[in-house]
Symmetry: C2
Subunit: 332 residues, 2 copies
DNA sequence: ATGAAAGCGCTAACAC
DNA sequence: GTGTTAGCGCTTTCAT
């Protein structure tokens, strides 16, 4: 049991390999009688087609790879689950590759996945050189990118709306009557920070406020970013009654620093984060933040890829935005 | 570029397919001259061996699958990273399969991975029927299990020491002079809870205390488990000055309930958790807990599998314990 | 040190 | 509706 090949199934069923193959894949009509015999033989032998051989022959592996920068970042496991849920039903196997944000590793994974004849690729964050990408284009491998627009058009993209969502989060602070609103993580050159900062500025401007550079502080995406931002503001004697943080981790750091300096949240200062990581609900006060909808992004990526692979979707690359959603808790 | 096959490399290099193959895999001596020509041809053509064809021929895929119950449980991503770090250097590709704790899905994944000729399997939590397992044994696929001892001997195992670690955590409470120590999550039938409860009891007994059934409350592994346990104790008027929780999530729930009932931690009650999830450091007071060493467990699994696959390790299944480590923070 | 040829297990023309 | 046969791209005897 377990190591049977298609010839044996054919022999036991009393038909040819061809018929077994077609009965199993449904690639051409098979008489009910033959089908029944094949199914019985498969059952008794515990047969399962060798997918290496099948893939070699068909040039399709029913496998797609999800390449992400960091599997320990809780955002990506949720994305992965969404992708799996969207593609599993279509019969695709999802292979997860975590690159640790190392461009060399990303290239290596992509090349390896090509060598393994994956049918498609979902790239969670682009850092690799364009070399690997051009190969993707040449080989006509279906690609979906998750995140900001890549320099080269290599496939469909799904992205968030950092700017709009942050505008909304900032507006929430404004609606509470706050007017001196700071931004923690303003100094980041790369990543989504710039868009979030812009969204924050949009909100202030459309509320008729002026931008005070003294209120835009800090850089990075970790807890230290938040605490240092708060300390910088406090030490400089900059008055503020609201704080928009570049992400949840920095917001949690900010909460720490505010508690330490005996500034009460949300009474004295309202704080909002971005991401809605698990910890946002665990800290006290519970963090008001923007749900970046990792799971939904995963399902959108998966559906897009399935459509491309099945030919249901053709034509130029699409770009889909999955809007963030404000989650109001206690911190603002 | 990119779609070259071995014949083309051979032609460009002016040698036979055979020589190209051996030059690339090192499976037999090749003259320096031939090797140089092959390498040049590979370079110019951007050749990469098709791993489906290679696997079909060699019956090895240099791929192993890591089957885990839930990718959104932060424990497993850390394990995955450990496995990857341990196996990547040996040239193995790690494929992650998340089963959502669904036995059917687990079986399906295992069978699928067999069909894909994976060389080995790391099983993060056993729930599948023994059917799939027996096939693993028949096919002599290398298996490492992570977690409690499986009913059938299917390979090496690496596990934690829930009991001993919980004894240590409880002893930490005892050393602080606490004598009325409760356990939250005592009602769990399955999983690691039973071992942890036993460890807690061990500690009390060896401190010369008697076990008060009124102090063993709650069931489950989530935050509600912890809050409800605390409320049950408080409502029943059971005095306690220490609380051992079955895991961090329940400990965080307990912290919530204690704050709500105005019991101060660690002054009135010392609280310890288990797992050391990220949130343990994020809650206030910071949670004292047991680091279950996910990354180390992953590397141990990976190393074990590499040794089995390379033949460096033979003989009966081994069982390796990765001890937990007490992390003292503020809650006790 | 090198090559010719067989074949891993499967599917898909092509014939009937 | 079914079977025969030729490969998919690679490794590996076996022969030189």
């Amino acid at each position: 049991l377990g190591k049977a090949r298609i010839d044996e199934v054919a022999k036991v069923a009393g038909v040819s390999k061809t018929t077994v193959s077609h009965a199993l894949t449904g690639s051409r009509p098979v008489s009910p009688a033959a089908r029944a015999k094949v199914e019985a033989a498969v059952e008794t032998l515990g047969y399962r087609a060798n997918s290496l051989a099948r893939g070699l022959r068909t040039q399709r592996s029913l496998t797609i790879a999800l390449v992400i920068p960091d599997i320990t970042n809780p955002f990506y496991p949720m994305v992965a689950r969404g992708v799996q849920d969207a593609m599993g039903d279509a019969g695709y196997q999802v292979v997860l590759c975590s690159t640790d944000a190392d461009p060399a590793r990303e290239s290596a994974y992509i090349e390896d996945m090509i060598a393994r004849s994956v049918d498609g690729l979902i790239l969670g964050q682009l850092s690799a050189s364009l070399d690997s990408f051009s190969e993707l284009v040449e080989r006509r491998i279906a690609v979906v990118t998750l995140g900001p627009k890549p320099p080269l058009d290599i496939g469909d993209q799904v992205m968030g709306d950092n700017r709009v969502a942050t505008t909304e989060a900032t507006a929430h602070l404004l609606r509470a009557g706050r007017t001196r609103i700071a931004f923690a993580g303003a100094g980041n050159e790369t990543g989504p920070a710039a868009e979030r900062l812009a969204g924050y500025q949009d909100a202030l401007l459309s509320a008729g406020l002026t931008l005070d550079p003294a209120l835009a502080v800090g850089s990075g995406y970790d807890r230290a970013t938040g605490s240092m931002s708060v300390e910088q503001l406090l030490d400089a004697g900059v008055a503020f009654d609201g704080l928009v943080c570049v992400n949840d981790l920095s917001a949690i750091g900010a909460l720490d620093a505010l508690r330490q300096r005996e500034v009460s949240v949300p009474q004295d200062v309202g704080v909002v984060g971005f991401d809605d990581i698990d910890a946002a609900e665990l800290v006290r006060p519970r963090l008001t933040t923007v749900d970046n909808r990792a799971y939904e992004k995963g399902t959108v990526c998966g559906r897009l890829l399935v459509q491309r692979l099945s030919g249901d979707l053709t034509g130029p690359s699409r770009s889909i935005v999955v809007p963030g959603r404000l989650v109001i808790r206690e911190s603002a």
